[in-house]
Homo-oligomer: 336 residues x 2
DNA sequence: GAGAATCGTTACAACGTTGTACCTTGAACT
DNA sequence: AGTTCAAGGTACAACGTTGTAACGATTCTC
């Protein structure tokens, strides 16, 4: 059905290898042959069989990019950027959704499509440090946004502690004293733990104590969870005057909950998010947020993959990418 | 480096084919051999080479899903659902971004990774009806959300005209008379044309004339374009009292523009969106929208692929999936 | 003008897998 | 005892591609 090199060769009256040489731009082919082969290719609509090529060459031209969920715009945006960065080096990206479930993350790093991809980029959530021993040897692995694992693996991330601290300090600078942290999650190794640490250190640096009642968990980093968690905060006897949300989805949900209670943001309660998604620039009020340089993360991840494939297994790199605090209406107009 | 069937066979003391039989659960293998092979597999960490298997079997287990942009949550949500639906039938989805550019859509349908995928699901934007002649023969093609092409290709979509008409009628029922359409795009075959037709027919059915000044274009279906277009509308000498946006991103942008002008939604101007993305449930005010049943679209698309691969090239199917009008605050509290 | 160097092309093997055909073994029938 | 039969296993070829080695043809060198 589909044309192969053999078909093209037969039509052009040359050997299979000569066609292959034309396709790959190799070595020396007479102008005459090159033209005849090209005509045959166009005529038959020949397209190389990538699987066969991979089989022969060893390199596949594919990368796995595993994220918790595409429905989260942070990851959707990130996927798009990684795809672009990868395309610059002729890689195609195979996106997987893990749902943040440890078991599926394990599948990604130790087996799934191993023979089909040159490397794996994973944004882990449920993964435990010891799990990395299961990683497929020989396939470079780059972890995104997760530093606490601190295992000998390539990492790309912002400084989560510093970023969370900056967000909290921003609220402190505006005069807020009863600042909540929304989005805590179990486990000492997750992103939540790092952001919580940054939050706590900023409070302590300001001479404030940390009130456990103001640290609320979120089962998932979704808008719905943000709303639910914010409702709990607003129902406290002594509710917060500001909330640092561990991601923008939670923050959007929190804004919605505040609005439902008839509270003004930022006058009654200020809100800071984390992720810098486009959506936050259109919420009401517009969302102050920590914006990681997503393009830099994508570039760095692909760069690490390239380096790992060239040099073999060198020292695991730890790339720290920049972030900025974008102040918008959800905190800005507060006057103390 | 990576273990192959041969390595496993050597270790287990059986032939390569017997190992293959164990891996695939085929035919008759003694319990003893099966156990020994399994042990060798576990020990060596054997994983089948998918490329080689594809080469041998013809079927690849991959689908291409090409969407304009992952950053648009409608497509991000849709991708997630298609991936889930595909996973039920052991397919892995290869996501491509076309940017809505005709040339890249053409690449998708006629060449890219053709040999690597069993079928192609495309959400077209720039594609012209005649372009479908370029589609790779032998690889089933399913188009999403696009009916006007009306070529002999599988289609899955809601009834865009009816949906747009329902949205407009909703505004009419609420008493609005000066209703704008936001998001027009050139070309007689695009989604925009269908939604515009539905808008017009609803107006005419109500005995109203269509004011061309109230039909504003949008270069892209993004929040930023929605804001820009809404500004133009609000600057008219005789501005609209309601706006039907051709997608939710435009609507979110429009809400932002209205807010910047100090207008109340829906009291001063009502807004309806299209896509039913989660974000619209958290905007201020919450967005009334046409919500296509995205899960149904995903299921239908994968179902069509399955049918096409089983029956060969049968009659192209035209699947119409349901939608609902979700009324929320951006229109609801209007009293006329 | 004989040998060497270069260009252009080709046959062959191999990548890892599975379908086909065949072989072996033992048991169940006449 | 001879025949049939099925289960269990194997060897081989093939999928489409490219690297290697080798070959024929031309040109260059002294």
């Amino acid at each position: 059905m589909v044309a192969t090199l053999k078909d093209v060769a037969a039509r052009a009256g040359v050997s299979v290898k000569t066609v292959s040489n034309v396709v790959n731009g190799y070595s020396f082919v007479t102008e005459d042959n090159r033209r005849r082969v090209q005509e045959a290719i166009d005529l038959l609509g020949y397209v190389p069989n990538i699987g066969a090529r991979n089989l022969r060459k060893g390199r596949t031209g594919f990368l796995t990019l595993a994220v918790p969920e595409l429905a989260n715009p942070y990851f959707a945006e990130l996927c798009g950027l990684v795809m672009n960065a990868a395309a610059e080096h002729d890689w195609t990206v195979l996106i997987e959704q893990t749902g943040g479930v440890r078991e599926r993350e394990l599948t990604v790093i130790n087996a799934a499509h191993r023979s089909l991809v040159d490397a794996i980029i994973l944004s882990p959530i449920g993964l435990q440090p010891t799990d990395l021993a299961e990683a497929a040897p020989g396939t470079p692995l780059v972890l995104l946004g997760e530093r606490a694992l601190s295992a000998p693996v390539h990492h790309v991330a912002i400084d989560n502690v510093a970023a969370a601290s900056a967000a909290t300090r921003h609220l402190l600078d505006l005069g807020h004293r009863r600042i909540a942290a929304l989005g805590d999650q179990p486990g000492p190794h997750g992103t939540a733990a790092l952001r919580l640490r940054g939050y706590q250190s900023a409070l302590q640096a300001a001479g404030l104590s940390v009130d456990p009642a103001l640290i609320v968990p979120a089962a998932a980093y979704s808008r719905a969870e943000g709303t639910a968690a914010m409702r709990r905060l607003l129902s406290l006897a002594d509710p917060p005057d500001a909330v640092f949300c561990f991601n923008d989805m939670l923050a959007v949900g929190a804004l919605s909950a505040a609005r439902d209670r008839g509270l003004r943001v930022p006058e009654d309660v200020a809100v800071v998010g984390f992720d810098g998604v486009d959506e936050g620039n259109y919420s009401a009020p517009r969302l102050t947020t920590i914006a990681p340089d997503k393009a830099a993360i994508a570039e760095a991840a692909v760069g690490l993959v390239r380096a790992a494939l060239q040099d073999g297994a060198g020292q695991p790199q730890d790339v720290v990418t920049p972030f900025t605090l974008i102040t918008r209406e959800s905190t800005r107009s507060f006057a103390h």
